[in-house]
């Protein structure tokens, strides 16, 4: 196991959530989405994005429309459907829970190394993580 694989696995997990977050802010087309992700320091290949968008669209979380552009072929602008909005909310909840859990665990780990012999960490493995 090397760090690259694990890291990319981590990112892969949150990819959908991130994309949906971007589209939730407003209609966006693929290049736009990639740009925004890049500005948030999360880079993604276009070849990864398009299949993902298509899957989301097939699951009816996204819808799109064509908009003509002067510089080239018409573009697809994606937007969130109602179903997509619900799905997004669930994802958000999931993410928050996950984030809190991870935070607690990693903090607890630090706390453990600082004050050795704390009994709290024995409880944590039993906490449900979604």
């Amino acid at each position: 196991m090397n760090i690259e694989n694990t890291a990319s696995q981590m990112r892969k997990g949150v990819l959908e959530f991130c994309i949906l977050s971007i589209i939730k802010q407003g209609e966006a087309y693929p290049s736009d989405i990639i740009e925004k992700m890049k500005s948030a320091n999360l880079n993604i290949l276009e070849g990864t994005l398009y299949p993902l968008l298509t899957r989301l669209k097939n699951a009816e979380f996204l819808t799109y429309r064509w908009i003509e552009s002067n510089s080239g072929p018409p573009r697809k602008y994606f937007s969130l459907t109602e179903k997509g909005a619900d799905f997004y909310k669930e994802l958000e909840t999931t993410w928050n829970e996950l984030a809190n859990a991870v935070k607690e665990l990693s903090n607890a780990e630090q706390a453990h190394t600082e004050e050795q012999g704390s009994k709290e960490d024995q409880n944590f493995p039993e906490n449900p993580t979604d």
Partner: protein, 752 residues
Amino acid sequence: MANPLTNYKKTAMKQVININFHGQVVPIEVTAFELLKNYTESLSRYFANEEGKEEIINDIESRIGELFQERLKKGSTCITDEDVNAIIKSMGRPEELDELEEVGSNKSSSNESSTASDTTSPLSGNTKRLFRNENDKLIGGVCGGVANYFGIDTILVRIIFVVIAFTGAGLLAYLILWIALPSSASEVIGASRKKLFRDPDEKIIAGVCSGIGNYFGISAWIPRALFLIPFLSIMSRITHWEFLFFNPFGFSFSPGSLFLYIILWLVIPQANNTSEKLEMKGEKVDLYSIKNSVVGEMKDLQQRAEKFNKEEKSLIEEKGKVVGAEATSLLKKSSRSLGDIIVLLVKAFAYFIIGCFAFSLVIALFAFAIFSFGIFPLKDFLLTDGWQNIFAWGTLVLFIAVPVIGVITWIIRRLAKIKSNRSVLRFTFIGLWLLGLACFISLLSGVVRDFRSTNNLYEQEIYLPNPLVNKLELTSQTLQNKYYRNKFFHLSPFENIGLEDDTLFIKNIEIKILKSKNDSFRVTMVKLANGRNRRVADTIANLINFNLLQKDSVLQLDKGIGITQKNKFRNQGVIITVYVPVGKRIKIDRSLNWNNTTLHFDNSADDDWGILLNDNEERGWRQNVEYIMNPDGLYTLDGEPADDRKTGGKKKFKIDGKGVYLDENGNKISIDVNGVEIIEGNDLNKEMDLSKKRIDSIRVKIEMDKMRRRDSLEKAKKEIQQQLEKIAFYKTVPEILGGYLMRPYYLLISID
């Protein structure tokens, strides 16, 4: 990515085909097309089991098509291998699609500074380098490139630059960066070497600015504006404005930019043939591009011809100055009746007059603006603080600067052919100008009010330590120390007035000479000043600090009345009266130079100066001549009265053993054995050197012989008088004219 240099070297001909890629025609190299085909096939295989794979592949291909269009728009003539490879890299090969990209710039090309933008995905480069960003540019893309390099938003960088630009260094820095940093366009695949040419197609004077624009990838009117700005640089700094006095309509031309333009004109070669033109714009030179550019050029010409016609019409509909074109075009169009032609001529003439009028107004406006900017630092000597100061600022900015800015903007718009007739802008300008007009009027009324009253006059005795000298000479303590400083800050127009640091010295000194009642010299001084009311005027008059110092037979006066920002200018003046005892002498030195009394004006309604005109006052004396006070007035040491009118014709004509002496209308003519001499000229030319003209003639000598006989004395006298009058007349007429011609000029340069 291949090194652009090696790319350039391999400009061997490659076969290029045109494909229809998602509804667009794309010229692409054959080898590149192979690569593309392979990629799409691999994608197809990768997504074989994916639901909706056609759509995915369609999207990806559509995206590739967009990228192609961008390449082509940037100036590439076809898609090359490098293009396709870079695109594939950015889209992601199927093997890579399972993993996500790494964050950060270590591994991949994603944080490339040069091409980051909304529309293009990163295509080039490995490490982060400082480029100019062609895609995110307002003027030259400098801020975009810098922003990309540091990873911050472009707007922030722009704001910082604007702030720095206010110190002056920022502008210079921007320009340097603009020139130094390579354009990201050169990083773009397919761009060949760019050369700096002059553009013969898009030129106003010599195509220098167009060529520069093409090289940097900016619009041509930006360097044009930059060349024009130094011409108007006088607005910001007050340096040399001396020659304002000699040429009231002149600008302070900074010839630097003109020289630069001429140098560039000579040095930069003109892009004549098509290959050079392509090199100028940075396109790769090969057969395709040449053909494209030739075709484009022809179309361009056609369009330009049409545009030209349209523009001509619109120009004339406004205040046309180009009247002749309309005349010729209309005349050419069809045969018109004579009446139409006449109407046309009248219209043309009217437009011409209006154009000239407008033009001269603009020139006057600029001259006035320069003048007021130049004189602005003196306002503190005149204006009281508070409202007047505010009004002055308001006047300067709104009344003067706003129309100037408006006119400049209008000119630049015309040059750049920007058609934006936003009336909001116009109304704003007009509104601001009206506000400035109000400020100006209030300023004027405020100032006038401050000069309304004069003070009470009384004669103040000046103490003379030694009133019994035999002679008194009045001199002025002129500027002893002339520090010649750096020329750029040399405000020479004020030398006469004597501007020293914060004090302005004005020479509002009038000197009167009267006969003393006893045998001592006596000097009195009367102070004059204006003010808002009598009391204020009195106070101001009292504050006048004017000293006289007697050193034996020299009476030294102050060089002027000191005006500071505390003692503001209120038409202060002094009248020095010198009472000369009989038998004593007096001389007014030339250094007093009070003929240049400046900044004094007489309010004829309340002319207190006139009150002091004694009938006893000695008149007609001149500077630098020593006089002696006789019982009946001032006389020169030769025995001539100072006041010419005193003689009243008495001394007009004198004959003695030496010859004849005539004095008529201020012309002194003497006839003696040597001939006729005109010793002195007219009153107006007092300051000029005496010109002596010798008219030798035998006839005159015979006349002189005649004259010696007593009986024919009168007749001879009359004859000679007439002849001499003629000569004098011919001499004095041009002098009179010359005097009149000089007068108004004289008035212009000294603020009389």
